[in-house]
């Protein structure tokens, strides 16, 4: 299994204030990495740094040869997308294929088919012509995931993918991500509050706080002190 992504001594923060530091981890092809931690521990910032949207304060984040910047899909937190934008579902999903185009101005037939397949897979086909801003939160999330899937050829980064979804939709979303990882062999990096899902699906766990608290396989995490303590707090909440 080749290494796709490498973080060495990375510190992150806003305008000089360090939020989290000493991040050292690698992601290999086929991994399902879950990034957990308390609110404000810099999980979303880490995702942005991994995507190259925000430079780290120090340290280096490198994509290794096997995966290019244009082979990555990204599901942002809903709040980051403009909700009042006049765009149809089809237009948005298709825009996920943009990174395959290079300088070619228009989408090819295969790309249109891909977008269509993704919409079918996420069961948003009937919404194709609908306006994005008129959809429910769960439907919007599916549209954005379909777009991310169009862009993801080797790796997908998800920032709180189940926020605002009801329990049924949440489960479906997790199953879908799991099948992406297992069947399509796409490497998954996911930020989540949901500890139960993290330990259920992920192959690796990265626990961030003021610094890196844990990185390793899920099995090791479950027996580690950090993991047990955090599970006792977070897991209990989710069970209710």
């Amino acid at each position: 299994m080749g290494t796709l992504l490498k973080c060495e001594n990375v510190s992150l923060g806003y305008e000089g204030d360090v939020v989290t530091k000493n991040l050292n981890f690698t992601v290999s092809s086929g991994d399902y990495l879950c990034i957990v931690g308390e609110n404000g521990s810099g999980k979303s910032t880490l995702i942005k740094a991994l995507l190259g949207l925000k430079p780290p304060i120090s340290g280096s984040i490198s994509l290794c040869g096997e995966v290019g910047r244009n082979e990555i899909g990204y599901l942002p937190q809903q709040t980051m997308v403009q909700r009042d934008f006049p765009a149809s579902v089809r237009e948005i999903v298709l825009s996920g294929c943009m990174n395959r185009c290079g300088f070619r101005p228009f989408y090819s037939k295969e790309e249109k088919k891909l977008a269509h397949d993704m919409m079918r897979r996420l069961e948003i086909e009937p919404l194709t012509k609908r306006c994005y801003r008129e959809l429910s939160g769960g439907q919007q999330q599916r549209v954005l995931l379909a777009r991310a899937l169009c862009a993801a050829r080797k790796m997908i980064l998800l920032d709180e993918p189940v926020t605002g979804l009801d329990p049924k939709a949440t489960n479906e979303m997790y199953e879908l991500i799991d099948s992406l990882n297992k069947k399509d062999k796409i490497t998954v990096i996911m930020v989540s509050h949901d500890m139960n899902a993290a330990v259920r699906y992920a192959s690796h766990i990265l626990h961030v706080g003021r610094k890196q608290l844990f990185f390793g396989t899920k099995e090791d995490y479950l027996t580690s002190k950090t993991g047990q303590a955090f599970l006792a707090v977070m897991g209990g909440e989710e069970d209710e």
Partner: protein, 290 residues
């Protein structure tokens, strides 16, 4: 009614009226294309700022007496567009302040330069300054003094703008809808932002003669805002705003010829009317759904 038609017919015998209509429609077409992008990217204020910069540059061009003032206006405005985009990326407040600073500064300097030039007798008499300034700010009858060269320049610029828009249509959509997604997935968003800014500058500069630098943003923003009230997809919004813009420009020009009102403000008034009409339509549609 028939009397009006004869008057119109008489007017259209004159080439300058025909030039005015051609140039007017071309400008309307170009300016409506990027309206949605400007509104959604919160670039509206940058468009406004740039038109003031163009005014300042025009004043400089007038003072230095360069025959083709495009040579000064275009590069100066493009440079300010690049600078504004840079600052706008950092923090929002700084960007806002930078726009205010550059645009008002350019306005003041431009006005001062025009006055100084007039006093030193650089080909113009003092009494003309306010009329001059007024016409650069609000557009004027100067639309009726277009030469054939002006028309051709306008045609060439419009062809460039429309081609760029069509070729980069999908990219412009991606960058407008979700810039960070585009960037994260390997699309060179900064480059396309720059492209959008340059196209906006080209539109502003060609439209300045026509409606005046203060009213250009209205021409860009209004059709898009109207179309967004009613239509749901990016493509239909753009097509609709082009249609609105062309309709308003045509009717504005004809009304201004018949009623003797200033061209720029007549067109903008037409745009405002259409905007309220579309607000009404969207209200009715929403009621109908419930």
């Amino acid at each position: 009614m028939s009397e009006m038609l004869t008057t119109l017919h008489d007017y259209f015998q004159h080439p300058f009226i025909r030039y005015a209509l051609i140039v007017g429609l071309l400008i309307a077409l170009c300016s409506s294309l990027l309206g949605v992008t400007l509104v959604m990217k919160r670039f509206s204020f940058i468009g406004d700022g740039l038109s003031h910069v163009a005014f300042g540059a025009m004043a400089v061009a007038t003072v230095t007496g360069i025959t083709n003032n495009m040579l000064i206006i275009m590069p100066v405005t493009i440079i300010s567009a690049v600078l504004l985009l840079r600052t706008g990326n950092n923090t929002k407040i700084k960007g806002d302040a930078a726009v205010a600073m550059i645009s008002v500064g350019a306005l003041a300097l431009g006005y001062m330069l025009m006055n100084i030039a007039a006093r030193s007798g650089n080909g113009r008499t003092t009494s003309n300054v306010s009329a001059d300034v007024c016409s650069t700010l609000f557009g004027s009858t100067s639309i009726l003094t277009l030469s054939l060269t002006d028309v051709w320049i306008c045609v060439a610029m419009s062809v460039i703008v429309v081609t760029v828009f069509l070729v980069f249509y999908n990219k412009i959509f991606a960058v407008t809808f979700d810039e960070s997604f585009a960037k994260a997935t390997g699309v060179r968003a900064d480059m396309y932002n720059l492209l959008i800014a340059i196209v906006i500058v080209v539109i502003i500069v060609i439209a300045m003669k026509f409606v005046g630098s203060l009213l250009i943003s209205a021409l860009i923003i209004f059709p898009a805002l109207s179309a967004m009230r009613v239509f749901k997809s990016f493509r239909s919004v753009i097509i609709c705003s082009v249609v609105i813009s062309l309709f308003c420009a045509a009717s504005g020009i004809i009304i201004s010829i018949l009623a003797g009102t200033p061209v720029g403000s007549t067109i903008v008034s037409a745009d405002i009317c259409v905007f309220f009409l579309f607000c009404l339509i969207s209200l009715v549609l929403r009621r109908g759904k419930k």
